[in-house]
């Protein structure tokens, strides 16, 4: 017997809002990516808790796909950051307005 599912959900919500605040408030592209990571992690916590609550493995399986998506997102995001750093010499989100290949 652990805690009610409510508490797991509230933990996930708090973590998600932390990540969302990071995405909105920070200017550096790297910190924005870190915020997205925190949000994906919060979604994973909610899914694993739901998987335990209903006794279905689908939630845990979905967390694996979240991890795959997070890995792909981080790879592309960091490549974009390197690209931006090469173009403009800055990693601020405001300076990255040239989306030319």
């Amino acid at each position: 017997m652990i805690v009610p599912y409510d508490h797991i959900l509230i933990l996930a919500v708090l973590l998600f809002l932390t990540g969302a605040a990071c995405v909105v408030a920070r200017r550096t592209l790297i910190m924005i990516l870190i915020g997205v990571e925190i949000m994906l992690n919060a979604a994973g916590i909610a899914l694993v808790g739901g998987s335990l609550k209903w006794g279905v493995l689908g939630g845990q399986v979905f967390v694996i796909f979240i991890m795959a998506v997070a890995a792909a997102e981080v790879a592309v995001g960091l490549a974009l950051i390197v690209h931006s750093h090469r173009r403009s010499g800055s990693v601020e989100a405001d300076h990255y307005h040239l989306m030319k290949g």
Binding site: T18, A21, G35, I64, A72
Partner: protein, 200 residues
């Protein structure tokens, strides 16, 4: 009357094991709350650092706490994956990029820090209140969850029997990401000029 006393005694005898169980339950609950505090504190530490390397270190602690939480919630395979993929691969990738690029600290001084964080905090407080109310009025979530453990073999069976199309799609997504990274990471014409060839 004696029958009633006996029934009460039986009830007392029956209700004694739950008190023991309650104690073990509270141990799991205490672990959960400790992990929750650890995860939230580390994430909060991470999002408020000016130095990106410190932020990544805080995030690693947060992910390790999440891995322990996954283990507590009955997902040992996911706990291992969390350590390997998130705390290992992704965070090392972050550190690698940060250290190769000599990223300066978040140097936005045009707006004061309070005003930069005010809007996200207000939005966060409002949505937190809304979701807490939603969770609170939701049905039948008060009961503590039973502990369970999903064996990695059962997990793999479900993953590859029932969800194999999703596995294929995830593979394709990773492949597309690889191609995109190679495309974005190639040296542009400017870099070719700025790095003259060694043997002309």
């Amino acid at each position: 009357m004696p029958g009633k006393t006996k029934a009460i005694q039986q009830k007392a005898a029956v209700s004694e094991p739950p008190s023991l169980q309650e104690r073990t339950m509270s141990v799991y609950a205490v672990i959960f709350y400790l992990l929750a505090v650890l995860i939230l504190t580390a994430a909060g530490f991470a999002v408020t650092r000016r130095n990106a390397v410190h932020a990544v270190c805080g995030l690693i602690v947060s992910f390790l706490g999440t891995a322990l939480l996954f283990y507590l919630l009955g997902a040992p395979f996911l706990a291992a994956m969390e350590v390997i993929i998130y705390a290992g691969a992704i965070m090392v990738l972050f550190l690698f990029i940060i250290m190769t690029m000599k990223v300066e600290a978040d140097g936005d001084r045009s707006r004061p820090r309070v005003r930069r964080w005010a809007f996200p905090l207000v939005i966060g407080a409002v949505s937190l209140t809304a979701i807490t109310i939603l969770v609170w009025v939701g049905p039948e979530n008060r009961l503590p969850l039973q502990t369970a453990m999903a064996a990695p073999s059962a997990f793999g069976t479900v993953l590859f029997r029932r969800y194999w199309p999703a596995v294929e799609i995830a593979c394709f997504l990773l492949f597309v990401a690889l191609v995109g990274v190679l495309y974005l990471g190639r040296a542009g014409p400017k870099e070719d000029q700025s790095f003259p060839e060694k043997n002309p």
